[in-house]
Amino acid sequence: MNFSQEATAWICASCGGSLELTKVFFSYMKGNFEVDLPACPACDLVLVPESLVSGRMAEAERILEDK
């Protein structure tokens, strides 16, 4: 999954800077998860798109819940 489209569609409203694809770390129950996502490293803001949440992330949550 590539989120470069989202990265160009949104800007950081806090500093006005553009979002760059950056590695973002997640954790849930006993598992970890990392994805390249649009983010503003300066303001520590990330963008987790809905498509990721309802797709791969929901799947990963479900798998970890059965661990």
């Binding site: 949104w10 950081c12 409203a13 997640f26 129950m29 970890n32 803001l45 992330m57 819940e65 661990k67």
Partner: protein
């Protein structure tokens, strides 16, 4: 679940027991599977089923006296399946090679003395198991009286061919022996064990004690005689009735005993199940239409292929699965309770790191109790799943997502926003205490308030009020700690006001009180209303259709009086009732019970979906969650309280539609506020800054976020934080904002845009994966 508990659960579910036909068969031939293969037209597979259990299938398949048919469940509905004739068809049809694969050779030498049906059966069984077998027959051929059977029943060439299999299996055959005690003693000395076919002795005396029929006396369970290493069987025809299949069993029993002797294990252990047995399997044939038995057009030739398909097609394929037929949850996982008991047991023992595939399963049961009511042995999946949930908590593998939302909702109801406990306004004592339930207050706050006013008018001695949650969600979640806390809260308040009788509007709450607070006397609100008179305001609703179908909540299952009272109220309101197929003792759950909707929302949705289509009538509920869940699925449904205490005259309550979790919370707050106002008090809850934000949302967005279990409060918090810190993103194209917040275990995302003095919410979503950090 401990091993002994597993066994107890397993014993309760009889789904895996043998059907009547197999149990009645002395050899326990799997007739059900045999018939299934015939139904599929797979003759070879059908033959394999027979040959798995039957010795010499070519013979027995033709001459068996089929005691199985007498017990067949098809009997009363068209006549028993003609298993015997079908076996004959099958063994005649079978053209494949009769391969008998003996087990690896064993160095034990066994003698069979006498080669009637029992003797050749014993030889067959032992040869298949790899023993070295010698057969001694006084006559000049194997088979004994089998040769006396009519050619039409058992053609000679078939008999010759079948018996030749013993030679192929390398039996050492001695015919025409002159059997006397000397030779017999010699055989007994040379072989490790000897099996005597009593049918072939024809008066030969072997110096063994005889029974009252003149046959060598044996222990009927094992076939042993008084002489060590000598066993016997067969000869049942000398007792009057001749049963080929019983005669076969007479050969099989001593053969099994010999095998055990050679393995040096107990001969008699666990053999009480051999031979014909009563079946423990329950099969419901109530809805099975009668189909007459198929008789072969040419009775001498037996069935044609087409006749076989028709006759085998009548087999019911007996099984229980009564509960599975009625419960979508049990059906969905493709098993039945006995299997599920094993899965739950194994799930608890899975090594760390491997998949616990039964976590969701364990938490998907609505604990509605339907299975226990239908099951011939009262198997309660609810009890098993609730216990298993406690164990998942214990093992610390219970995913928080399964119950958190419901437990938060319960905490809300037992917190300052809703929980309340007071005497009736203007009174200082309570003969009664009204407990209208958190969900009904959430769903119908105005009606609840009217009902409180109504019962205060009708009852004397003071009607106090208790707002809160009975603790059911904690009970369902296996959270005994939170459940105790809720119960203790209720008990303390109740004691404080002098232990009044408690009036309860919700069936689930009432069950919880009755089972877990037995010291409290409870009475249903509907009963009070029926006895003290229906309010004058009642029934002023225009119902588009005067006929309704009552959805009994699962929690009312064991309350036939309460169920009848509801119907009496409805009838006195002029409504016609058209009962649903599953009502009274057998309603399903609406998906709220057991927190099914929390752990398995898809299943809960399907359960409701299936129930909404059971009838086209408007539904009438008397459980708030039933009303709300059916309404969410788009079904026209109203709650009885809406008819008794209409808030808007002439409205159509069945058209009210769904309400959100946020609205339910608001409803509860409204009930509390209103009662406090009457008492001259005020809410002491401080309102937070974020609560003042003005939100607008389209109906679609409102429904979508509700399905995702996002509350308006969560959205307010996200927007409030984003607006006060500036931490948000902006779309270049639309100018919409996107912001997020992780207040506890869930991260909420909101897309919004400022509008007037507030915000228009365009979308919201959430996840449980925690954002830990960004690579810098």
């Amino acid at each position: 679940m401990e091993k002994n508990e597993l066994i107890a659960w397993e014993n309760k579910c009889i789904q895996e027991e043998s059907p009547e036909c197999t149990s009645a068969c002395p050899l326990h031939v799997d007739a059900r599977l045999f018939l299934k293969e015939l139904q599929r037209g797979d003759w070879d597979a059908a033959y394999k089923v027979l040959s798995k259990t039957m010795p010499l299938p070519g013979i027995l398949g033709r001459i068996c006296d089929h005691p199985c048919e007498e017990k067949c469940k098809r009997g009363p509905i068209g006549g028993p399946i003609a298993i015997g004739t079908l076996e004959k068809f099958c063994v005649e049809k079978f053209a494949g090679k009769k391969r008998v694969q003996p087990l690896p050779r064993k160095n034990h030498r066994i003698a069979i003395v006498g080669a009637g049906l029992a003797g050749v059966t014993a030889a067959w069984d032992l040869l298949k198991k790899g023993f070295i077998v010698s057969v001694f027959e006084p006559g000049d051929r194997l088979g004994g009286y089998l040769w006396d059977l009519p050619e039409q029943l058992l053609p000679r060439d078939v008999l010759t061919e079948e018996l030749s299999i013993l030679e192929i299996l390398k039996a050492d055959i001695h015919l025409g022996i002159r059997l006397d005690t000397t030779l017999f003693d010699q055989i007994c000395g040379e072989y490790e064990a000897v099996i005597v076919d009593r049918d072939s002795l024809q008066g030969i005396d072997l110096s063994l004690p005889l029974d009252s029929d003149g046959l060598i006396a044996i222990d009927p369970a094992t076939g042993t005689t008084v002489r060590d290493g000598v066993l016997a069987g067969g000869g049942t025809r000398f007792r009057g009735s001749f049963s080929p299949v019983m005669e076969t069993l007479e050969g099989r029993k001593p053969a099994l005993s010999v095998e055990r002797m050679m393995q040096k294990v107990g001969l008699g252990f666990g053999r009480e199940n051999e031979g014909p047995q009563p079946s423990r399997l329950y099969t419901n044939v109530e809805e099975i239409a009668s189909v007459p038995r198929v008789f072969p057009a040419d009775s001498a030739r037996g069935y044609t292929e087409e006749e076989t398909l028709r006759e085998a097609g009548r087999c019911i394929q007996c099984e229980c699965k009564e509960c599975v037929k009625k419960c979508l949850f049990l059906e969905r996982y493709k098993g039945y309770p006995k299997k599920y008991a094993r899965e739950i047991f194994n799930n608890e023992r899975i090594l760390l790191g491997a998949a616990h595939q039964y976590n969701v399963f364990t938490n998907s049961c609505s604990t509605c109790g339907l299975c226990e009511t239908i099951c011939p042995n009262d198997f309660s999946m609810a009890d098993m799943c609730l216990e298993a949930r406690r164990e998942l908590l214990n093992l610390k593998i219970m995913p928080p997502s399964f119950h958190e939302f419901a437990l938060d909702d319960m905490a809300f109801s037992n917190g300052e926003s809703f929980a309340l406990f007071r005497h009736e306004p203007g009174k200082s004592e309570s003969a009664w205490l009204y407990f209208p339930s958190c969900q009904l207050c959430g769903s119908a706050p105005g009606e609840v308030l009217s009902s409180y006013r109504h019962i205060r008018e009708r009852l004397s001695g003071g009607v106090g009020i208790m707002l809160g949650c009975c603790g059911a969600p904690a009970f369902w979640a296996g959270r005994d700690d939170l459940f105790r806390e809720a119960l203790d809260g209720i008990r303390t308040s109740w004691e404080e006001v002098g232990k009044p009788r408690v009036i309860i509007a919700c069936s689930t709450c009432r069950n919880i009180f009755q089972e877990h607070l037995p010291e409290i006397e409870t009475v249903s609100l509907w009963n009070i209303i029926l006895e003290s008179g229906i309010p004058a305001s009642a029934g002023k609703q225009c119902s588009a259709t005067p006929t309704v179908s009552v959805v009994d909540p699962c929690a009312s299952r064991h309350d036939p009086v309460g169920q009848k009272n509801i119907r009496r109220i409805l009838q006195s309101l002029g409504m016609e009732i058209d009962e649903l197929p599953l009502s009274g003792e057998t309603p399903e759950c609406c998906g709220y019970g057991g927190l099914m909707y929390n752990a398995n929302p898809t299943l809960a949705r399907d359960v409701v979906e299936r129930r909404t289509t059971a009838s086209d009538n408007d539904y009438l509920a008397y459980c708030a969650m039933c009303r709300d869940n059916f309404a969410f699925a788009g079904k026209r449904i109203s709650h009885i309280i809406e008819h008794l205490f209409p808030t808007v005259e002439g409205a159509d309550p069945a058209a009210r539609g769904w309400i959100s979790w946020s609205e339910r919370r608001a409803g509860r707050v409204r009930v509390k506020e209103t009662i406090l106002r009457e008492l001259g008090e005020k809410m002491d809850a401080q309102s937070e800054e974020y609560e003042k934000l003005n939100l607008t949302m389209s109906p679609e967005v409102r429904k979508r976020i509700d399905e995702r279990r996002i509350l308006e409060e969560d959205i307010r918090k996200v927007i409030y934080r984003a607006e006060s810190t500036g931490k948000k993103m902006r779309s270049k194209e639309s100018g919409n904002y996107l912001a997020y917040l992780q207040p506890a275990n869930v991260t909420y995302w909101v897309e919004y845009v400022p509008e007037g003095d507030g915000f228009s919410v365009l979308n919201a979503y959430c996840h449980r994966m925690k954002i830990v950090g960004i690579k810098k």
